[in-house]
């Protein structure tokens, strides 16, 4: 399957986040249109919210819905990582790879901290001044006053019509893996005992790793395995649960 966006298996899934509440599909649309900032979307909360919805309605959608969710959620992860990666600005003076001394790093962080605080101040100012709509009784200027440069109109046409609306995720290649396939692979790997996520996904690309993670979560949800991580950022261990083999079957 490809990331030709899913069917409508997620049509009923709604999310409640600080920055947005409503249908998940609309959330995706808003992100694609730049109306919502991808990096303000807490992806972990999004996944938790999906897992919660799944618990409340275990029969709804089943693996097809899981696959669709994993597909779109991993695209969001990739999009977010791209957004958070350093600016690749052709105009920049090529200082992306510079190594900063601790002092320089401190300077940069200090400057950013100030901007962060200024942004909070601005948020409050906007909120306190919202709802002032100006008069619509404006007089058109005298005919002949306004000059519009035709070349600027042509330039605007070129800009508007050549813009890529969807974020460029095509270079990531089609999503050729399904949640079921990776779930099957994980089950097979677990036959020989516990395995770390890092070992499991060592030979995978980023997309497969993301889907493998979703598959592991899904299996943990079904009780087929347990996930343990003893220390922050430490290895994530997938352990088969010591239950009879029937527990390994999907519950859907």
């Amino acid at each position: 399957m490809t990331f030709e966006p899913q069917g409508r298996s997620l049509a009923d899934f709604t999310v409640e986040l600080d920055v947005y509440s409503g249908p998940y599909e609309w959330l995706l649309a808003l992100i694609l249109k730049d109306e919502l900032e991808i990096f303000e979307i807490p992806l972990r909360e999004l996944v938790e919210s999906y897992v919660g919805a799944r618990e409340r309605d275990p029969a709804g959608g089943g693996l097809e819905r899981d696959t669709d969710f994993a597909g779109s959620a991993s695209a969001l992860v990739l999009l977010k990582s791209r957004t958070l990666s350093p600016a690749l600005d052709p105009d920049a003076e090529g200082d992306e790879d510079e190594t900063l001394s601790p002092q320089e790093l401190a300077e940069r962080l200090t400057e950013y901290l100030k901007i962060r605080r200024a942004a909070e101040h601005l948020r409050a100012r906007f909120a306190a001044n919202a709802g002032h709509h100006p008069s619509s009784h404006t007089l058109p200027p005298r005919p002949g006053r306004l000059r519009i440069r035709p070349d600027r109109v042509s330039l605007a046409a070129r800009r508007a019509f050549s813009r890529l609306i969807d974020p460029p995720v095509r270079h990531l290649g089609p999503i050729t893996v399904t949640l079921q396939e990776l779930a099957g692979m994980i089950r097979t790997a677990l036959v020989t005992g516990p395995i770390s996520y890092e070992v499991l996904t060592r030979r995978m690309d980023r997309l497969n790793r993301a889907v493998a993670f979703a598959a592991a979560l899904s299996l943990a949800q079904e009780g087929a395995l347990t996930l343990t991580q003893t220390e922050p950022l430490g290895p994530l261990i997938l352990e088969p649960t010591a239950l009879e083999p029937t527990a390994m079957e999907p519950s859907a």
């Binding site: 730049d34 035709p150 813009r163």
Partner: protein
Amino acid sequence: MSEGPRAEHMIEAVLLVSAAPVGTSDLSSATGLPKPELESALASLQERYSPETSGIVLRNVAGGYQLTTNPGCAAAVERFREESRPTPLSNAAHEVLACALYLGPLSRGAISRVRGVNSDAVVRNLLERGLLVEVGTDREAPGSPALLGVTDEFLAATGSSTSDDFPPLASLVSPEELSRVRDRLASASAPPEDAGEST
């Protein structure tokens, strides 16, 4: 509703943001005021905004109620208009005009889809400035949205006599880009493909 804004205030606010006269039923649905309350609030506003008491007067014209300048202040308004330089157009405004010029007439929704960003505010501004105009409605599309085109004033401002004076679209964008734009336009007017609405 007892804690809400006063009836007169809501009416004043609505009338400030409407250049055209507003009928009582529109005023009523915007403010949530029942007719009798609306009528009495309008009567008291007519005193507040009378030619004797204000530079802004409330008129009851054919289409409804409208705030206008007091004719007694026409000289000041005219001088202001004479001296004020028109605000230059933003890049966004140029893009919206280019959409209407090259792809129009088209609806607000279609403009937003072609540009990939909500363009309602820019469109409103261009309508107010007389550079865009509603030339019909798209009866095919849900909600029959208004179709927008550029005005003669726009052509005059660019020093062109017809829209053919502009370079052809094919000289500005590649065939692939053009077909992408056409796809976006088609998706703007077509009803949702998925007939099986979920709810």
